[in-house]
Subunit: 144 residues, 4 copies
């Protein structure tokens, strides 16, 4: 899809907001792509992010996928917006094995109040093995 | 509901497995209650777990809720089982403000292969303000 | 929970709106309880509502659960509101066997724009065997 | 994706099973495409399928999307299988306005026990306006 951003500074604002998400710093995630309606976040494997079998914890996968959903929605919001997650579902398709993971988010339907986003999480690289998929609803709020 | 565990060591095994979830150590979560079909996990507030507004990141809430779902299901599995998340949805009801959060999981339907679990996440204490709710599907696998 | 309705005619409006949901007439569903934040819908078994094994189709269960979610949310909305579903997830716990089903919806979190509702679907009667559970997000719109 | 069916009669079996889903007959849905891992179901608009505003009821959309998910999964199952829905989430993106709707299901991850499927629901025709999207988990059971 071809979305027109309403905020010319959307990319800078995504990076600024992301840098204030301390949870992203804690887990070592980084934004690697920002386009109108699309955001990719990369997460290198670390053993302190794992569940009992040594795979990345499903909740940590959800964390990067949720941020990717939120920032993909945020790219299409007007200036002075804030974004919050309303809900998301994550389906885990394969164990999160690999040296690196990429959560690739695409807006399905932008809206004034609610934006629906799909995020696919791949092992190693975008369009690598699909390990999880999320659909989430993101809400636009005025920044306070 | 009144469930009969098939593994007499279920509580010990929950604690053992939890201690191998390094993601739980990283975020500072701890198991505070283990009963047949029910597990509570507590998460103290830390500023390194936050999103852009200083609230706990929705993905971190999902991480403790997912572990609570998984271990609640695990309490009812036979010996030598392993548990994996198939899917979960998290609805965020209020901003995750507070000094501490409790994810309280209860099995809705145990099964040989699949167990469905609901986890409510409260601020401060069990049955405090409800900030999020998850329903997830957990899968029993033989331990390898 | 103890909710105060903002629309004194909430019960009448639920019944009026429900009578305009022709899909409810088609499947034979009826509203059997309307309280602030809570609505029950009953669905008698009919063989023309089934899937390939003779159980009620999961989508038909979703249909009554979604209407129950929507009207439970609607009871708490101000006058001249309309309600639309944003999203719902249904977990199917047991085959929908029985002569009658009751979808019992309770609001988890009312909001000006979004209301989150849980609906449990029971066989035979409220608090009978739990066959499915839904959590959904309902949106308040001004009536046009 | 390019899936190899394990049941050479998958297409015939989809049609046979679908014809036993009486709920599909009731609402007037029909299977219009069956490929390995992909099934499309069409639903013409009918005023007896609507909610209070005259749009197709979200639950009826869920009903066709769920059947599409189930049969897409079923195309990849071995002979003598049966398919049941474990869970699905539906996000409603736009009002279900139109003369006809197409639910197009694609398997994301086939599995021995569980298969995850995505169904997009379009107005008028495949790849028309996207009105809803579902991700569901389908379970393979031996036929009894």
């Amino acid at each position: 899809m071809n979305f027109k951003p309403r905020n010319p500074n959307f990319a800078t604002e995504v990076h600024d907001s992301f840098s204030r998400q301390h949870a992203m710093t804690l887990i070592g995630a980084e934004v690697i792509r920002v386009e109108p309606g699309e955001v990719d976040i990369a997460l290198p494997y670390r053993s302190d992010l794992t569940q009992q079998d040594g795979f990345i914890h499903a909740g940590i996968i959800a964390t990067v996928a949720d941020s990717a959903c939120g920032y993909a929605a945020f790219t299409l919001m007007p200036p002075n917006s804030n974004v919050l997650a309303v809900e998301f579902k994550l389906n885990l398709l394969r164990p999160a094995k690999g040296s690196r993971f990429v959560a690739a988010a695409s807006v399905l339907k932008p809206g004034r109040t609610l934006t629906v986003v799909r995020t696919d999480v791949f092992a190693e690289e975008r369009n690598g093995e699909l390990i999880a998929t999320m659909v989430g609803t993101m809400m636009c709020l005025p920044r306070t």
